[in-house]
């Protein structure tokens, strides 16, 4: 079975997503290739040498193979030229990336024919690790929680605000990372609302919006606003595999 990889990038306030079938993905789920950091080797006057590594980052090679659709090729170009790009592998693992070669990109014409434009995308993860990052996914027994930062809730029940993951005030989660793809078909989704200083807030039903989810949030007529006179809450999205 072919594996897939989802490329995402942000342009302005819009997040673009496309999933590609891959021939192979090297370095993402297994430690095939890493960049060492810092790449130093000290040489002492007595001739002894020593490295001083603090960690590593993943070097990820996604071999997409031949892309025959113009739209796919255009998406790859836009993905490469965006400075705010990340990839998904599995269901919820997001990996922010930079380009291994930020100076150029070229596809390969297999058999020297323009009909077989072959794509090999090489990416470097932006952050470094000291231990291998395990792919954590929600299962029936394991829940995944994704928290948000404080959100201003401007409307009451008669005029709720509509929130969508990866857009607007939920463009990133509380850690600054994009939200994962959330499929209501795959997960039971529960919203947990935490009010700020006793200003009561509520969340409505969750609906699917592409690979994201949408829901409404409002504050109660009762309760006290925060000290600045506004209503705030934090939304935690809980996922459990169905």
């Amino acid at each position: 079975m072919a594996s897939t990889i989802t490329f995402k990038y942000r342009s302005g306030a819009t997040t673009y997503t496309r999933t590609f079938a891959t021939l192979s993905i090297k370095g993402l789920t297994r430690p095939d290739k890493v960049e060492l950091f810092p790449p130093l080797r000290f040489e002492m006057s007595d001739g002894s040498i020593r490295t001083a590594f603090k960690g590593f980052r993943r070097v990820i090679t996604a071999t997409l193979g031949v892309l025959q659709e113009d739209a796919d090729r255009a998406f790859v170009l836009n993905f490469l030229q965006s400075n705010d790009r990340w990839i998904y592998f599995g269901s919820v693992a997001s990996v922010y990336c930079v380009l291994l070669d930020p100076e150029k990109f070229e596809n390969e014409w297999k058999f020297d024919t323009s009909l077989a434009r072959y794509y090999d995308i090489q990416l470097l993860e932006t952050i470094t690790y000291t231990t291998w990052p395990e792919l954590v996914e929600p299962t029936a027994d394991t829940l995944l929680y994704i928290g948000s930062d404080w959100i201003e809730v401007t409307g009451d029940e008669s005029s709720p605000i509509t929130l969508t993951t990866n857009a607007g005030v939920l463009v990133t989660d509380a850690t600054g990372n994009p939200y994962p793809s959330i499929s209501l078909a795959a997960y039971a989704v529960e919203l947990i609302v935490r009010e700020r200083q006793g200003c009561l807030c509520y969340a409505g039903n969750v609906t699917q919006s592409g690979t994201d989810v949408t829901f409404q949030v409002w504050h109660a007529d009762a309760g006290n606003a925060y000290s600045d006179g506004k209503f705030y809450c934090r939304i935690t999205i809980g996922l459990q595999a169905k």
Partner: protein, 271 residues
């Protein structure tokens, strides 16, 4: 049967074993029953001192042994593969058989068969767990010395080819600049060399082993065991990155080759 290249590393969370050598005195090593522990400068594997143990009779795991209490000990994580190396010495021409117990596991007899030679005793186990006492005892009444205990995690790889470690195939020379005099004569000032080692290993299919290789790569105190050499420090030739090769472009065949430099220079070939 292929030779084994054992990569030994300090895992990111590996705590340090206290009193691993005798340079700071006998430390927290305790005499229990008929095994008396002391510091000695008669013999040493590294530095000036070693631990001397006088066993007046056979030891055991309960009442007669040299003991490093658990508070000074390594905390073993269940399921990980650990390799314990201890250097031992005896002047007894009959040699000595030693036993280690730690992490809830007792080694078999570890023999020091040659008198007047430091011998590396290696105890490997994937069943060690918890923070437990480190016990060491002799099988009969003997006097022996031990020094330089190393506890590391490890991964073992089967060797396809090796160059430069067991034979002087490739070295990096060390010394002053090459002098060229005004009469045209020239002179080298080479004082030492380091081994340049290349090891080609069979494909590694276990993700756990692949992670172990990565942790070995990023550990600045990485060592290897190969043939008769034990716990030999190694430096990477390429410090920028590390990559396996997918044989036949197949992700099921990640193939590992290592280009290494010995960290210290030497004047004689070690093997």
């Amino acid at each position: 049967m292929p030779d084994t290249f054992r990569l030994r590393y300090n895992a990111p969370t590996l705590p340090t074993l206290a009193n691993r050598n005798a340079e700071s005195g006998v430390g927290n090593w305790a005499t229990v029953g008929n095994h008396a522990v002391s510091q000695s400068n008669t013999y040493a594997h590294g530095g000036t001192y070693s631990f001397k143990v006088i066993a007046t009779d056979a030891g055991d795991a309960t009442t007669n042994h040299a003991k490093l209490p658990s508070a000074n000990n390594h905390t073993f994580v269940s399921g990980k593969a650990y390799c314990i190396t201890l250097w031992a010495y005896t002047a007894d021409v009959d040699g000595v058989a030693l036993t280690i117990k730690t992490g809830g596991v007792t080694s078999g007899f570890l023999d020091v068969l040659t008198a007047d030679t430091w011998t590396a005793l290696t105890f490997k186990s994937s069943s060690l767990s918890g923070a437990t006492d480190f016990l060491l005892w002799a099988s009969d009444a003997k006097t022996f010395y031990f020094d330089d205990i190393a506890i590391t995690e490890y991964v073992e790889l089967d060797v396809l080819a090796e160059r430069g470690m067991s034979k002087p195939d490739s070295v990096e020379l060390f010394g002053g600049p090459q002098n060229r005099y005004k009469d045209g004569s020239m002179q080298d000032q080479i004082t030492a060399f380091r081994r340049k080692i290349w090891v080609d290993c069979e494909p590694v299919t276990s993700t756990t082993d692949m992670k172990s290789i990565l942790y070995w790569v990023i550990d600045n105190d990485r060592t290897v065991d190969y043939l008769t050499e034990v716990n030999v420090p190694m430096c990477l030739e390429n410090t920028e990155g590390f990559e396996n090769t997918w044989d036949f472009d197949c992700s099921l065949m990640p193939h590992y080759s290592f280009s290494l430099l010995e960290p210290s220079v030497r004047t004689t070939f070690p093997v």
